[in-house]
């Protein structure tokens, strides 16, 4: 009884916990180690060997998105260290974004986009004013309040124009660099949601392990 208990203690497998990172960036021709791909919890005897475990080598043939599935990681770890047991916590795969060259936006392009938005935004508001006959409405409102008739009720229209910008700023929760409160702005949330959807898409479509088609053998 006693010896059997001792024996079972002796052969008890060491447990390694890994948590795959969601998304990492690597350059082309980089070697991907376990420490890049996942957070690892293990005893000191395994830690350094695990950290330098090579999992993938990015080659020229790879596209700019590579998905490493956790099954691949577990397979490599268990084949390398026979006596360990791997516990996966968190996401089941990591998205590797291969950065070929540091994408730097050219200033002229940025200025072009800026003016595109600026002019477009200005013209659409003019179209909108014409569309809803806002000039007539403003004139009637002026007459209603003051009892006088004017051609151009600028007393109303200049504050209106300033308010227009103010309203947009309030909605987006930004006054230049300063935030109105600590919450993320709807724009930032939108960008985040869009990135989430993209990640979800590449996880499903680029991961060879998660889709099995008829012609796969």
């Amino acid at each position: 009884m006693k010896t059997r208990l001792l024996g079972s203690v002796k052969f008890m497998a060491e447990t390694i916990y890994i948590r795959m990172r969601h998304r990492i960036q690597k350059k082309s021709n980089d070697v991907i180690y376990l420490r890049d791909l996942a957070q690892v919890i293990a005893s000191d005897t395994y830690m350094s060997k695990l950290n330098n475990l090579c999992l993938y080598h990015i080659t020229e043939q790879d596209k700019n998105i590579i998905i490493i599935d956790s099954t691949r990681v577990i397979r490599i770890i268990t084949s390398e260290f026979k006596e360990v047991e791997v516990q996966l916590i968190g996401p089941a795969q990591t998205i590797i974004e291969v950065v070929f060259k540091k994408k730097k936006l050219s200033l002229p392009l940025f200025i072009l986009v800026w003016f595109l938005l600026f002019i477009g935004s200005g013209l659409t508001i003019m179209n909108f004013h014409e569309d809803v006959s806002m000039q007539a409405v403003h004139q009637r409102l002026y007459t209603m309040i003051t009892g006088k008739e004017v051609e151009k009720p600028l007393m109303f229209q200049i504050p209106y124009s300033i308010g227009l910008g103010l309203g947009m700023v309030i909605f987006f929760n930004h006054v230049f660099k300063k935030r109105l409160n600590e919450e993320p702005s709807p724009l930032e949330v939108e960008v985040f949601n869009y990135q989430q959807s993209l990640d979800q898409y590449v996880i499903m479509h680029e991961n060879k392990e998660s889709m099995k088609n008829l012609d796969d053998h």
Partner: protein, 139 residues
């Protein structure tokens, strides 16, 4: 005669209900009231804000059907104009957000870090476009 009057009342009511429901649906899609409660941390007052929108719509309707005139000082118009502008500005901002213009643009040309400057292009475009319209464009 009475039937005619009743019919007219019925049609008027039906028309009003449809337009009112449409207006509320429009406000809901843009989510301006939730956005304002979130910014001012006054979620508990949301019903009061709903009534503000309802009474605003009724006041506006009455004002333009009855065309009353008052002899009030004209600086009041400055306050009204500013409030009107902020409201329309929030509508415009909400519209850009609903249409997902920015996330796409930011992703396509890789400017996640300069979103704010791009947003300012929209804001200044609106202000300058509006001022240009009122001051120069209208003959």
């Amino acid at each position: 005669m009475i039937i005619n009057i009743l019919f007219i009342i019925f049609v008027g009511m039906a028309w009003g209900i449809t337009v009112g429901a449409g207006y509320v649906a429009f406000l809901t899609v843009f989510g301006i009231i939730p956005r304002l409660t979130q910014l001012t941390k006054t979620v508990s007052k949301i019903h009061a804000y709903e009534w503000a929108a309802v009474f605003g719509a009724i006041t506006g309707t009455l004002a333009f059907l009855q065309q009353p005139t008052f002899a009030l000082p004209s600086f009041l118009l400055t306050v009204l104009g500013l409030a009107d502008g902020i409201y329309v500005g929030m509508l415009a901002a909400a519209l850009t957000e609903v249409l997902d213009v920015f996330p796409l643009l930011a992703k396509r040309i890789g400017i996640d870090d300069r979103l704010l400057i791009l947003m300012m292009a929209l804001v200044f475009g609106k202000i300058i476009g509006s001022l240009f319209h009122w001051i120069y464009f209208i003959p």
